[in-house]
């Protein structure tokens, strides 16, 4: 019986440990990728680096007309690659000169827009503007014709190319993909579209106290005990008191080991790893029983990092020799231990590719791992996953997944959700 329960504990601990190691690994990978980018770039753009996981802005946009794939005889793309002219010779009435852009319209956004300027309406004024797909017969007139200021709501599979066409003698048009200012007030259009979306979002009603409850359970989850106490006090003394969101027991962890979790977080955030380890051994020996576990690896690595931070390099070397050997032989830890050891190679480790190890976020990762580990020792625990993710995180993951799924089911068209963008936006 006891063995069974030990085994379950062990499995839970492995799950939590490997989760936080993966987070660490992810950070290590993005840090080394962005470091090599920084080294190659003379002028690193920090703002952009903040949105490192954001690939939407990288989607190619049309910049000029395609000169290779146009319908040769019936149109001439001029050297600026933005103008098209119908040859001045008389051709048959069916002969349309159609030119597509050099790449399809980008789709990972709310909408896409381009303009055509008719320089010469020619003999019949039969110029056209529209979107066509890849295999479009370039001798036909594309979709729309005439002086249109309008929108097409699109739900078509496959990519669409901005396209223009000329059809009669002397016709000449040029397109603007955004290099020059647009005639149409695209910013206002975008603002209006967003406002429409925002209004329908604002109209949704949520329980008034939901945010309070979510903040409170976040503070509980991560063991921010002092904040939690002051927050509760403020809610009780406010006029009127904010109630109806706690003491409902909807947070599974509630106050479990809150004070211990707070103390350990503080120690780790202060770099006092020895003290943290000592307390863990005393209070929750089962979490640090296996000295080759992920949590022990994280703590020992952090101890090493703290020694490097304060310049006690000889001690760091000794500590590493004593502690790292047992981890080196374990394949799953190899890369992370190597990252730590690499700190010793640099005179200014904070500026190296492993500089991320010296950031507060690394301490926080260790503190969060220890916190989750302690949560998993709660005998009343029902859902293992609840040790890893706060309610706030679950809601934000659901929100992000919904946006991505919607886009996926929509032929990869539409915007994604980026929390960092929301956080940067003022007066949303």
């Amino acid at each position: 019986m006891a063995n069974d329960s030990d085994q379950t504990h062990q499995q839970q601990h492995d799950l939590i440990g490997s989760y936080f190691l993966d987070l660490w690994r992810l950070k290590s990978q993005t840090a080394s990728a962005s470091h090599s980018k920084d080294v190659n770039m003379t002028n690193p753009d920090n703002e952009h680096e903040q949105l490192e996981q954001d690939d939407d802005d990288d989607e190619p946009v049309p910049t000029e007309l395609d000169t290779l794939n146009s319908s040769g005889w019936f149109s001439i793309v001029l050297p600026d690659k933005l103008s098209v002219k119908y040859p001045s010779v008389n051709l048959h009435g069916h002969d349309v000169g159609v030119v597509q852009a050099n790449c399809p319209a980008p789709v990972k956004r709310l909408f896409y827009y381009f303009e055509m300027y008719v320089k010469n309406a020619g003999a019949k004024g039969n110029v056209a503007i529209g979107f066509t797909n890849e295999g479009f017969n370039l001798r036909r007139q594309p979709g729309k014709n005439g002086q249109v200021v309008g929108t097409v709501e699109k739900d078509v599979k496959g990519r669409l190319y901005p396209t223009v066409a000329v059809h009669s003698q002397n016709e000449e048009v040029s397109v603007n993909f955004g290099k020059d200012p647009f005639l149409f007030d695209i910013k206002a259009y975008e603002a209006a579209q967003r406002a429409k979306q925002d209004t329908s979002i604002e109209r949704i009603s949520i329980p008034q106290t939901a945010s309070y409850g979510i903040v409170r359970s976040y503070l509980q989850h991560y063991g921010y005990e002092e904040t939690l106490n002051v927050f509760d006090e403020a809610n009780q003394t406010s006029v009127p008191p904010v109630t109806g969101f706690h003491d409902n027991g909807f947070n599974e962890h509630a106050m479990y080991a809150l004070n211990h979790r707070k103390i350990l977080r503080k120690l780790i955030m202060n770099g006092q790893i020895d003290d943290a380890l000592r307390n863990l051994h005393e209070w929750y020996p089962e979490t640090v029983q296996d000295d080759t576990s992920a949590i022990c690896l994280m703590l020992h690595c952090q101890k090493f990092i703290e020694l490097v931070r304060v310049g006690r390099l000889e001690e760091a070397v000794d500590y590493g020799r004593n502690q790292f050997e047992k981890f080196y032989n374990l394949k799953q830890y190899e890369d992370l231990v190597k990252d730590c050891a690499t700190l010793l190679a640099y005179g200014e480790p904070s500026k190296s590719s492993v500089g991320y190890l010296l950031e507060d976020s690394q301490r926080e990762k260790v503190a969060d791992a220890v916190n989750a580990m302690i949560l998993s020792t709660n005998p009343d625990l029902k859902d293992q996953g609840s040790c890893l993710h706060s309610y706030l995180e679950k809601l934000l993951r659901q929100l992000t997944a919904c946006f991505l799924q919607k886009r996926l089911l929509n032929g990869n068209q539409g915007e994604a959700f980026h929390l960092q963008r929301v956080l940067l936006a003022k007066n949303s």
Partner: protein, 237 residues
């Protein structure tokens, strides 16, 4: 000269897909939410809602920097508290100490504060003072603005009922009226400090419900309906 414009607007189609819990959980696990960002979100809530002490503690415990000078929260909360407890004169003075432009540039807010002052006079049975205040301070503003006039008339009507609580204008004496005025002042002060007037968290929760509703049209998938427990519910198939 003719210009032709073309615009393509991305919308949704109609086919519906079923996503199992297992598949959905895989997708959820691929989403990485940075701890740092959640901390910022919580700090934004504490600061905007005026939890100055909690914000200070949270700064210490989580290392998250608030996006506003915490001292300004104390001033803002003092104003809010003054309105909530019915000391409107005091509140107006405090707002002007903070930044006189706030009331100068917000005639509606100023009117609502004066209206609240009138309500408090009536609540305290100071009938004569109330009438004098209404005629001297509020009536001139009502002449400038039809909306103000109607609100003034509604407020003065409080004097006409013996059983005010059950009268058609009884809601003005409700605590919610004070809270409404208090939150209006709060928002104006935040705006004057170049800070958004609402915390981001509630709008994200709305956005979650909205995104789920949108996806409902395309797919059956595990939803979260209870925001308090963030529990995934199996898709109805």
């Amino acid at each position: 000269m003719i210009r032709l414009l073309f615009l393509i607007h991305y919308i949704q189609g109609t086919s519906k897909k079923v996503i199992t819990r297992e598949d959905w959980e895989k997708k959820l696990n691929d989403v990485k939410i940075r701890k740092e960002d959640m901390n910022k979100l919580v700090m934004n809530f504490l600061v905007t809602e005026g939890y100055v002490d909690a914000a200070e503690k949270f700064r210490m415990e989580s290392g998250t920097e608030p996006d506003i000078d915490l001292a300004t929260i104390t001033d803002r909360m003092a104003v809010k508290k003054a309105v909530q407890s019915g000391n409107v004169e005091d509140a107006i003075e405090k707002v002007n100490d903070l930044n006189p432009e706030i009331l100068d540039t917000n005639p509606q807010l100023f009117f609502h504060l004066q209206q609240q002052r009138l309500i408090e006079l009536i609540r305290n049975g100071k009938v004569e003072e109330a009438l004098e205040f209404a005629q001297e301070e509020l009536a001139p503003r009502g002449e400038e603005n039809q909306g103000f006039l109607e609100e003034l008339e509604r407020t003065v009507a409080l004097l006409a009922f013996e059983d005010v609580k059950n009268s058609p204008v009884g809601d003005l004496l409700d605590i919610s009226q004070r809270l409404k005025t208090a939150s209006e002042v709060n928002a104006a002060i935040l705006t004057s400090q170049n800070h958004e007037k609402d915390p981001k968290l509630p709008s994200l929760l709305r956005m979650l419900i909205w995104a789920q509703n949108q996806l409902d049209e395309k797919a059956a998938y595990p939803r979260i309906t209870d925001l308090f427990t963030a529990t995934l519910e199996d898709p109805a198939v």
